[in-house]
Amino acid sequence: MKEITYRDAIREAIQEEMERDETVFIMGEDVGVYGNIFGITKGFIEKFGKERVRDTPLSETAILGCAVGAAMTGLRPIAEIMYVDFTGVCFDQIINQAAKMRFMSGGKIKVPLVIRTNGMGAGFQAAAQHSQCLEALFMHIPGIKVVLPSTPYDAKGLLKTSIRDDDPVIYLEHKLLYFTKGLIPEEEYTIPLGIADIKRIGDDITVIATQAMIHKVLKVAETFAKKGIEIEVIDPRTLYPLDVRTILDSVKKTGKVLIVTEECKFGGSGAEIAAIIAEKAFNHLKAPIGRIGAPNIPVPFSPPLEEFYIPSERKIEETIQNILKHSN
């Protein structure tokens, strides 16, 4: 095992896959000479050449369109859209082209494409157009897999799998996590899409969370552990495919559940998870399904506003407390 940052785990995944398979290439704004805004592809041009590490103009529709076409004709593009917020200017290529191409063709074509975006999430005072969590939009569109890693280990393993996957994948990186550290194996490994990770085992309540929220939940779980309350923490890791079984098994065991996501709560990915539980594990529930997310407000700039906006450890703690009050 070695310690590595989330950022470097992503870099290693791309690098290893580009070494392994010469049909893999990467394109996007500032990924070449600059080496990506977070330094993910630094030195890649030297290693792989300008043909496989392609700086593009400021044309997100052209980037994704080109990636879709290349994926349909024998290559495995990794297309980078700087911040997830910018998918708004190329949304058609994601939802109507990449995602639907295979089905519209009657299953005759595959589109092995990875769309990576750097900047999910708030916490940087980057304001309303540079801080969103938009996973729920992609999750609702059939035909595309949605990956959102929370640790270096998951980041590397899931990205390698995504690149090898024969279907379009949107791989959402969280800007607050790039410089967090974790252990990964020295040797090669991959993580299948659609398998949730139980980040902590417990019997008293199930907390399902993603990306930056996982870390807050884990901290809160430690506090509860000291009081003898054991929280089961589940990170779905991929929203599509979603590991419904792991979630339901846990809920059936604990009977209590809280879902914590950073996105706007209303209409978010947490709603789907809650709805599935309310449909499929209803008879096991001993308390209302709790859900925490951001309020239905664009992300504010000012630090105290942003701090209030992002779901806090305190809020998580209090909500868990409230749910636990319900008798078994």
Partner: protein, 331 residues
């Protein structure tokens, strides 16, 4: 120009135009009778463009089409039977009934498909262009779109990227004077070909009702692309005879197109014009002409019959076609 082209090819162009027209005339008929479902955008009147352009391509070249794409498909030799089967929504159709007219494709022949989103294909064409370039295969990509598409952001981004990367792509705009009801003289007053200047690439305007002229410019653009010199923008001037889609009342009432204008263009029928030329040059005779038409008639009838008698797809099988690696859950 005509004299430089082998007779056989000229006859093939002529036959291709006739096949497109017959196919689409049949589509109009079947739709009017309620026999085929969906939305139909016919290219009757525009047949010279696919006939000229597709014959200038080589085997293995990529083709990207748009909503008005039947002509392109027939131009590169797709089978009418499987096309009709698709329109009938049958399992034997090119898209196994999942796509319909707006998504016709044949990946075995590198026909990357029609598209329901105006302009989307322009961006996608760069992908097959880049793919061929990186794989060093000398394949080129031809991308068909309308005058309306040249008003979309994807046109700009797509052409710019192709120019910057010198991608082997031919952007062929079929300027049929209207984007639905919106006249191209309003939407693009300078003319689509002029827009090539914004990207520093060649822009060529051509008579889109003359298959030989179209063949000529496409051949030239294809050579350029194959030599690695980059993309070309071609604007082929033509006219759509029918409504924007089948059911467009403009077909019968004067809504956005003056009758006078339509009548002028009807006189420039690309098929009749070419027929006369070929007859004059002795390349075509009345006997051969009749035979060609008879054959096509038979082809159409047989194709429809086959299509109509093909089985519908099984809804329970849809779950397999969304992803290559997994089935989705049907509830």
């Amino acid at each position: 120009m005509v004299s430089l082209i082998p007779k056989k090819l000229l006859l093939k162009m002529y036959t291709t135009m006739l096949r497109i027209r017959s196919f689409e005339t049949k589509v109009a008929e079947l739709f009017a009778e309620g026999k085929i479902p969906g939305l139909y955008h016919l290219s009757i009147g525009q047949e010279a463009i696919p006939a000229g352009a597709c014959l200038a391509l080589e085997k293995g070249d990529y083709l990207v089409s748009h909503h008005r794409g039947h002509g392109h498909m027939i131009g590169v030799g797709l089978q009418m039977s499987k096309m009709f089967a698709e329109l009938f929504g049958r399992e034997t159709g090119y898209n196994r009934g999942r796509g319909g007219s707006m998504h016709l494709a044949d990946f075995d022949r590198n026909i990357l498909g029609a598209n329901g989103i105006v302009g989307a294909g322009i961006a996608i064409a760069n992908g097959s262009g880049l793919s061929a370039k990186l794989r060093k295969t000398k394949q080129i990509t031809i991308c068909f779109f309308g005058d309306g598409a040249s008003q979309e952001g994807s046109f700009h981004e797509g052409l710019n990227l192709a120019a910057i990367w010198k991608l082997p792509v031919i952007f062929l705009c079929e300027n049929n004077q209207y984007a639905f009801s919106y006249p191209s003289r309003l939407g693009c007053p300078v003319g689509v070909a002029t827009r090539a200047m914004a990207y520093g690439i060649p822009g060529m305007k051509v008579d889109g009702n003359d298959p030989v002229a179209v063949y000529g410019v496409v051949k030239k653009a294809a050579n350029r692309a194959r030599k690695g010199e980059g993309p070309t923008l071609i604007e082929a001037i033509t006219y759509r005879w029918r409504g924007h889609w089948e059911g467009d009342p403009d077909q019968h009432e004067e809504i956005y197109r003056p009758r006078q204008e339509i009548n002028e263009w009807l006189k420039k029928d690309p098929i009749l014009r070419f027929r006369e030329k070929l007859l004059r040059l002795g390349i075509l005779t009345e006997t051969i002409d009749k035979r060609i038409k008879k054959n096509i008639e038979t082809e159409v009838e047989k194709s429809v019959k086959w299509a109509e008698s093909s089985p519908y797809p099984d809804p329970k099988e849809m779950d397999k076609d969304v992803f290559a690696t997994m089935r989705v859950i049907l509830e």
